[in-house]
């Protein structure tokens, strides 16, 4: 581009992992072609942004200045958008988002419940900037906090501000960030390091990916400020292997920041030197744990070690090291610019600010949402998430992934913060919220998480390595019909033991999914064990595969969908299942609208 044209319209094209996977690069190419064809390339600018958090509806295009939100855009829609919207100024009705409940189309992004009810601090730039353009980050107050910290504040003042904000680590533990920095700053042993934890191992959570991809500079800036506060001149970002796009965007961002001297020597003329390198992960959940992560950066097997000494004293290469989560770092810029008091005014007594949640599972609006701490689970699932699809019933939400627990139907008024979740037996974890409807079996879910933990246990200590295996075997027995009297008590006893005696956070919390499902869904365990029946009709061994005559409406859907011809049905007759042919694939159960098969 020579003289930059004066655009009158911006197409913000989502280029996060989700939308790219749904084909946003092709849409962009089609739009570009169409604009050139009509000689509009100097009037309309296409900007590739990071994830908007609404990946399920991708590819997304938001058109400014009007703020119109188009979803599920395909390349063949490009002529329509250009013709109608750009030339004639008419909104393209059929590409608008429709609220699942109201079924009416909502043109403006800000009016969509999913977006409108969020409060963006961490995701302040989402969808608004070109993820690969440092100037656009700067335009939205980027690096102003770094400038303020380096030129107007002492390291002690920076720490004081972060302490005042009440910010707690978003990586799961919830440790106060200011205190962590303060402790690390105390040691007079150089060099020191600051590390960003971008391992994001919790399956079902993708907020860190979204930030690293969509607003990489906010991470770099937060890290540089932490480096200044604790006296570190080198930072590392540990990114998991599954996030190639995040690595690519971070590398571009680092190169641009170096070019401007916002990383490197004598940043902004302050005399402070700081640089960052990327350390790629290689696929091990336990490497998200602080000490294991540091071993991994050193090129070793990532196994947690016994603390103390704490990392603040002896971390990476035995030097004082600070470790924070991606989201934690992304909060630093607004805290420094607006002050700790401002941040502390948002949220609850013990948990300040906002939290980004990854809302997934049986919910209409799957996506990333940022809300103030203390928002109720109900509001999260129903107001923002748009409720449960297919008119099914809300059964439970699993919060905190494999180390968290579930919150059952009836308790959805709980206001989410660190304390309240702990109180009900769940955990903030990284903020993954998996919504489950009445077609989810809680025993199977517990088994799923236990299986995860067994796979990911590093094997260093016995309760976690062996205990979890025993637990998994027991759960497998139960879902396959070999459960016995006393199994539940045994699981509880074993679970408490594993949680109590394991060495690192993985083992210490690995039994939570089992313990919390027993706590709230004991009857389901009992049904599996005593009646040999799975009430949610999920565990194939525990389903009878018989048609309940009173419930059957004789519609024949099961008959038409059975892949093994195991269903005997004729018009106006109750269906029957030939068990000798049935492969227990559950297709009929999913198809029957009347719940007539058990």
């Amino acid at each position: 581009m020579c003289a930059s044209p004066s655009y009158r319209m911006h197409f913000m094209m989502c280029a996060g992992t989700g939308c790219l996977a749904s084909g946003s690069a092709d849409v962009r190419a089609a739009l570009e072609k169409e604009l050139v064809k009509r000689n509009l390339q100097d009037e309309v600018q296409i900007v590739m942004t990071g994830c908007n958090g609404f990946c399920a509806m991708g590819p997304l295009v938001v058109v400014y200045p009007d703020g119109v939100f188009y979803n599920q855009v395909k390349p063949e829609h490009a002529p329509l958008i250009v013709e109608e919207h750009v030339l004639k100024g008419r909104v393209v009705e059929k590409l608008l988002f429709k609220e699942p409940a109201a079924k009416s189309a909502v043109p403006l992004m800000k009016d969509i419940g999913f977006f409108g009810l969020q409060r963006l601090i961490v995701l302040r730039n989402r969808g608004l900037i070109d993820a690969e353009n440092i100037d656009e980050y700067i335009a939205r107050d980027g690096y102003a906090a770094l400038g303020k910290a380096l030129l107007e504040m002492t390291p002690e003042e920076v720490i004081e501000e972060v302490k005042k904000s009440g910010l707690r680590g978003r990586g799961g533990g919830g440790f106060p960030t200011g205190l962590k920095w303060e402790e690390c700053a105390r040691y007079d042993n150089f060099p020191k390091y600051t590390i960003c934890n971008g391992d994001e191992g919790d399956p079902g959570a993708f907020m860190d990916r979204s930030v690293m991809e969509g607003d990489p500079h906010s991470v770099l800036e937060g890290m540089a400020i932490s480096g200044y506060a604790i006296g570190a001149h080198q930072g590392y970002i540990y990114v998991r292997a599954e996030y190639p796009l995040a690595i690519q965007r971070l590398e571009k961002a680092m190169a641009d920041a170096r070019e401007y001297g916002l990383l490197g020597k004598d940043i902004l003329g302050s005399g402070f030197d700081f640089d960052i390198a990327i350390a790629p992960g290689a696929g091990a959940f336990v490497c998200g744990e602080s000490t294991a992560l540091m071993f991994s950066i050193e090129g070793k097997r990532g196994m947690p070690r016994i603390k103390p000494p704490r990392s603040a004293e002896a971390g990476l290469w035995n030097q004082p090291t600070n470790l924070n989560n991606v989201e934690t770092f992304a909060n630093i810029n607004p805290i420094i610019l607006n002050g700790g008091d401002w941040f502390a005014s948002i949220g609850t007594e013990g948990s300040k600010g906002t939290k980004v949640f990854a809302l997934t599972g049986a919910v209409n609006n799957v996506g990333l949402v940022e809300v103030p701490m203390g928002t109720s689970l109900k509001s999260l699932i129903f107001d923002i998430g748009g409720g449960i699809p297919k008119k099914r019933k809300f059964k439970a939400a699993q919060i905190g992934g494999p180390s968290g627990g579930c919150i059952p139907n009836g308790m959805e008024d709980v206001e989410i913060d660190y304390e309240s979740l702990y109180g009900v037996g769940a955990m903030m974890g990284s903020g993954g919220v998996v919504v489950m409807d009445d077609h989810t079996c809680m025993v199977d879910t517990a088994r799923f998480f236990t299986d995860f933990s067994v796979e990911e246990s590093c094997g260093k200590c016995t309760p976690c390595r062996e205990g979890l295996k025993v637990m998994l075997d027991k759960l497998t027995d139960i879902v396959e019909g070999r459960g016995r009297e006393g199994d539940v008590e045994f699981l509880q006893e074993l679970g408490r033991h594993i949680n109590g005696t394991s060495h690192c956070g993985l083992g210490k919390s690995a039994a939570n999914p089992v313990l919390s499902t027993i706590r709230y869904f004991r009857d389901e365990y009992d049904a599996h064990i005593h009646e040999k029946h799975c009430p949610a009709l999920v565990c194939p061994e525990l389903i009878d595969f018989v048609v309940i005559e009173e419930k059957c409406k004789m519609c024949g859907l099961c008959y038409r969908n059975c892949p093994s011809d195991a269903i005997i049905w004729e018009k106006k007759q109750v269906a029957r299942i030939d068990l000798s042919k049935c492969t227990k694939c559950r297709t009929c159960i999913m198809n029957c609208k009347f719940g007539a098969i058990r």
Binding site: T17, G18, L20, A21, S22, G53, F54, C55, A56, G58, E200, G201, D202, P203, G204, A205, F206, R209, A241, E242, Y243, A279, P280, G281, A282, G283, A284, F285, S296, I297, E298, G299, K300, R301, G302, W317, A358, T360, G361, A362, V366, G367, L368, Q398, G401, G432, V434, M436, T440, T445, F448, F449, F452, E455, E456, C458
Partner: protein
């Protein structure tokens, strides 16, 4: 009997692809790049795996010597991280997400279909060398659950019934 022997023999051959010293020379730039940098074993292994597709003994050994690290340490690291593999892989690697979001949205059914239709289990490669199946825990594209990758291509919002059709596209 003959038939069975043939199959067995074929299998054995497939496993015994040896990387020649000539080919191993491709590792030299990697070694040069990372030599003397403590802590760069993992990136070095990643690059090596990009070159050869997997990390057989001779590659591990050459890296160990080149980077001046005990071979046992290299082996320990390779086996610890799930990203690394010491077996050759198929032409197309299917990486099926079994993360929570995908699991509750039907990833299990996709897994069963792949097991049944392609005849391979997680971690295995089909006899014709066409597919390798790997399970991963969340690709970070949960909004598109259930998700799997074939090579670099992401397939999202997969309806289990479509699995076979998608795989047909990869010969």
């Amino acid at each position: 009997m003959e038939e069975r022997d043939a199959i067995l023999k074929k299998k054995r051959e497939a496993d015994r692809v040896i990387i020649t010293p000539d080919e191993l020379e491709q590792l030299d730039p990697v070694i040069e790049k990372y030599y003397g940098n403590p802590g760069y074993l993992i990136p070095a292994l990643k690059e090596a795996q990009e070159i050869f597709g997997y990390l057989p003994q001779e590659v591990q050994y050459k890296l160990a010597v080149g980077l001046n690290i005990p071979a046992s340490h290299v082996y320990g690291v390779v086996t610890f991280y799930s990203f690394f593999t010491i077996q050759p892989r198929g032409r197309h690697v299917i990486r099926l997400c079994l993360g929570t979001a995908c699991y509750v949205k039907g990833a299990k059914e996709i897994l069963e279909i792949v097991q049944r239709e392609v005849g391979i289990d997680v971690g295995q490669t089909s006899d014709d060398g066409r597919f390798t199946l790997e399970a991963v825990r969340c690709l970070g594209a949960c909004g598109l659950a259930p998700v799997f990758l074939v090579g670099e291509n992401t397939h999202g919002n997969v309806i289990p019934g479509q699995t076979v059709k998608i795989l047909d596209g990869y010969q």
